[in-house]
Symmetry: C2
Subunit: 119 residues, 2 copies
DNA sequence: CGCTTATTCAACCGATCGGTTGATTAGAGA
DNA sequence: TCTCTAATCAACCGATCGGTTGAATAAGCG
């Protein structure tokens, strides 16, 4: 399924420079040169980072003469949020049930609680 | 800051096997052997995956004889969600403003719209 | 047309990644 | 104690990653 897509999105955001680029693109569209300016690395390196973000679907490019301004595709974030929320909720639900079970055991076996601690 | 932490979390979840492990741990705690069973890869490989998840703070381990059951630490998800939401909102807000500006220009320059297209 | 600007392509390099196999540690249990 | 089970450590391997430099492509400009 979109297993692969999700992997690319997470991998793309695993790099601090790329997260930084996303942050800057959230403010407004920008060209490769503009995006590269604040960094010490070469323009080619930034261009590569942008390719990774594009392959993940996080960024798109348009054309303006020889410039190719990049644009943040914010919808992809939903894919991540959906994945994260799913398992967070599941884990929280489990906690809730576990707490209930432990409370029930506690009610039932008040006197046997020290059994393990005695050794 | 927790730049580094965030990088590790995203990197950890960039691997489908590790996301799968997280999914299983959301259902309930499990030992390395139990987690490794459904996969074709060696136990050592799964052990390595778990180390990555632990280093990212997504998973913790306890002790039960020679077994070391793993537990999902769901709170770390909040770190990601916070990051994602921040830039999604920012991008969405920008859209809103851009739409407003375009609408205003549209009102103002109805007749000049074909200027660019004429050449 | 020839120059400059913006960007990408290509080859290379060291580091990290996901996997392997083999040896080791740690605890239970006969 | 000797043995079995659970898991980790260690060394290695090919692939990918983030970076470099150098050449190529593409579009505006004098």
């Amino acid at each position: 399924m979109s297993e692969d897509r999700l992997s690319r999105v997470f991998a793309a955001l695993a790099d601090p420079t790329r997260r930084d680029i996303v942050a800057r693109l959230a403010v407004g569209d920008a060209t490769v040169g503009q995006l590269a300016a604040p960094y010490e690395v070469s323009i080619q390196a930034v261009s590569k980072h942008l390719k990774v973000l594009e392959d993940a679907g996080l960024v798109s490019r348009s054309q303006d003469a020889q410039r190719r301004p990049r644009h943040l595709e914010a919808e992809v974030f939903d894919l991540m949020t959906a994945w994260i929320e799913r398992y967070r909720r599941q884990a929280e639900e489990r906690y809730r049930r576990l707490d209930a079970v432990l409370a029930a055991m506690d009610d039932e076996n008040q006197t046997t609680i020290n059994k393990g601690a005695a050794s």
